[in-house]
């Protein structure tokens, strides 16, 4: 019984992990850069949604597109001004550029918004549905639903739209894409902006149950990286699989191991995957 409940909770929560992490994997897939600052855009999305709730009375879930838009804009600028300049640089420079960005964003928001924790109150926060003896938390269900919608929208975009195909082409072979007339620099901008926008969208969606403060990104960094590595860095489908897997692993591990060791468990999974199958569950061998 508790086994089933754990799987159910894990899947719901995992769907959200997937949406938060898709952006990270998209950025790597198209540009080959691990954006260490990705979780900061989660924080940005949460703050945007919080302000929309506090001043416009918008439910955070409805404010999610707004979070997406704001992060998209910031991401566009960041990519053009900063990331673009290190695309050909050694990996150490790329790593530390995004690490520097992480610190700038976190402390910038500390200066702008102050340190206090902000939470929202929504009508459905303490509600749950019953499925027989199982509980389904309503905030989780809504978050999962939004994540699903977002995921489908992304899939549709990548499959059918010209931009989506152009991005995939750029990811596969930038040189060939350029020869085909694709403006790869533009594709990188879109990919990055889209990636951070998606993470911000995820942030808004989890605001009903997570309190936001400038350092909130740090709570999700482990999760996000484990998700994308497990699924395969660069694979959007992998992020979905990885997200669900991490959610379920986290929930199940709590049944058998002390909850305090939750993160340790995730790290070990993370390291094992990197050691044995770095391309992840879904990713293709590079």
């Amino acid at each position: 019984m508790s086994f089933l409940q754990a799987i159910l909770d894990g899947l719901l929560v995992g769907g959200v992990y997937a949406v938060i992490s898709i952006g990270l994997t998209l950025v790597y897939g198209v540009m080959g850069i691990v954006n260490f600052a990705q979780a900061e855009f989660l924080m940005i999305g949460m703050f945007v949604a919080w302000f929309a709730w506090a001043y416009l009375g918008l439910d955070p879930v409805l404010a999610a597109p707004l979070s997406f838009a704001v992060a998209f804009g910031i991401g566009w600028l960041v990519q053009g001004q900063l990331i673009a300049r290190v695309l050909k640089a050694p990996s150490v420079a790329q790593i530390f550029l995004t690490v520097g960005l992480l610190i700038v964003l976190e402390n910038g928001s500390l200066l702008l918004f102050g340190s206090q924790f902000r939470s929202v109150t929504t009508s459905y926060q303490t509600m749950s549905l019953s499925l027989g003896p199982l509980f389904i938390s309503v905030p989780y269900l809504i978050a999962f639903g939004m994540s699903l919608a977002c995921g489908l929208a992304l899939w549709w975009f990548m499959r059918t739209s010209w931009f989506g195909r152009a991005m995939r082409a750029t990811a596969q072979n930038p040189m060939a894409a350029q020869l085909m007339g694709i403006d790869t620099a533009l594709m990188y901008k879109i990919a990055f902006a889209l990636g951070v926008g998606l993470t911000a969208f995820g942030g808004a969606v989890i605001l009903p149950y997570v309190t936001v403060f400038p350092g909130v990104g740090g709570q999700f960094v482990v999760l996000m990286f484990t998700v994308v590595v497990l699924g395969g860095l660069g694979s959007v489908a992998g992020a979905v699989v990885g997200g669900l897997a991490v959610g379920v692993i986290q929930a199940l591990s709590s049944l058998f191991f002390p909850i305090q060791l939750q993160n340790l468990f995730l790290f070990l999974v993370f390291i094992l995957v990197l050691a044995i199958r770095p391309q992840g569950l879904v990713g293709a061998s590079r």
Binding site: V92, L101, I103, V104, L111, F225, L268, A275
Partner: protein, 327 residues
């Protein structure tokens, strides 16, 4: 010839400088940590610079060293001097264990894997309370001053120990860089496949580098424990405050060069202190913000780090274009 004169002068100044400071004051403490972090960055530089593997998990070794010597002192009364070597040994073992699964990983993947290892150590230290004191941390006991027990009333001896450590680690770095191992590492960096072809055992070389770096970093952990006196898992196993920081120091200064970590530490640590002094009560977070903005600027416009600026200055000063062999 000229370079040796410069180094001798700098060393002389470095030896005399601590004497000019108040031995129980503030600046001696800043100097001690600056020297210590320079040494730590130099230990990182062996892997990060010479082997070109950006480790974001060096705190794992650092914490192992700090905890080993302190636990041995607290539980068995063993002097931290001996504990330092015990810690170094364990640090080397840890480096070996970490290196094996991560060796084949490149760039970003390697960084992520090492980051995970650092965090694993932090969680272990946090939960294994009977051994490590758990989240409450450990205090090096406040004993009467004794050289044998590495306890001093003033910070002055600590500053000299840190200086000696920096010199030793730098010498080791240079010996590797100029020696056969440095040559092999450069070959591996250029083209791993070709290196294998000409007979370089890349696995063995990488393992050796990792172990050396791990041993040194762990030993420095003991020095830190003796100066800081109190620490907890979040302090010594910290990704942000240790792992990222030492890499950052080396990178800002000039990764892969002997002087890089020194320049980086001389710039970053006193600057952080200054910012905390000026801004922290008014605008928390401002110092970190300015500091990381500088990092971004340096990466974008002077990716080789301060050492290029330094080189230009000394070249102008000494009037020669010396053959500084940079990687």
């Amino acid at each position: 010839m000229k370079r040796w004169i410069v180094i001798a002068v700098v060393l002389a100044v470095a030896c005399l400088l601590p004497l000019t400071l108040n031995p129980t004051g503030y600046w001696i403490r800043v100097l001690t940590f600056t020297l210590l972090f320079a040494a730590m960055a130099q230990a990182w530089n062996i892997i990060g610079g010479l082997a070109n593997q950006t480790s974001l998990g060096h705190a794992a070794f650092f914490g192992i060293g700090a905890y080993t010597s302190t636990i041995l002192l607290l539980k068995f009364g063993i002097s931290p001097w001996i504990g330092m070597f015990a810690g170094g040994l364990l640090g080397g073992v840890a480096a070996f264990i970490i290196a094996i699964p991560t060796m084949r990983l490149q760039g970003h993947y390697f960084a992520l894997a090492t980051l995970a290892f650092g965090e694993v150590m932090r969680v272990i230290a946090n939960v294994w309370t009977p051994l490590t004191g758990g989240p409450g941390g450990l205090s090096v006991p406040f004993v009467p001053p004794s050289l044998a027990l590495y306890s001093f009333k003033q910070l002055l001896p600590h500053a000299y120990i840190a200086l000696a450590a920096l010199v030793v680690v730098t010498i080791i770095f240079e010996v590797i860089r100029r020696g056969a191992m440095g040559y092999r590492l450069r070959a591996i960096k250029e083209n791993p496949a070709a290196a294998e072809v000409i007979g370089i055992d890349t696995t063995k070389v990488k393992l050796q580098t990792a172990v050396i770096s791990g041993v040194l970093m762990a030993m420095l952990g003991t020095l830190y424990a003796q100066v800081a006196v109190f620490f907890d898992p979040d302090t010594v196993f910290s990704a942000a405050a240790i792992s990222v920081r030492v890499a950052l120091i080396a990178i800002l200064g000039g990764v892969g060069t002997a002087i890089g970590p020194i320049l980086g530490a001389l710039f970053i640590i006193p600057l952080e202190e200054l910012m905390n002094d000026l801004f922290s009560s008014g605008a928390a977070g401002l110092s970190q913000l300015i500091f990381s903005a500088i990092l971004i600027v340096v990466i974008l416009w002077q990716p080789r780090g301060f050492v290029t600026v330094f080189d230009k200055m000394t070249a102008r000063f000494s009037g020669d274009i010396s053959d500084k062999d940079r990687p």
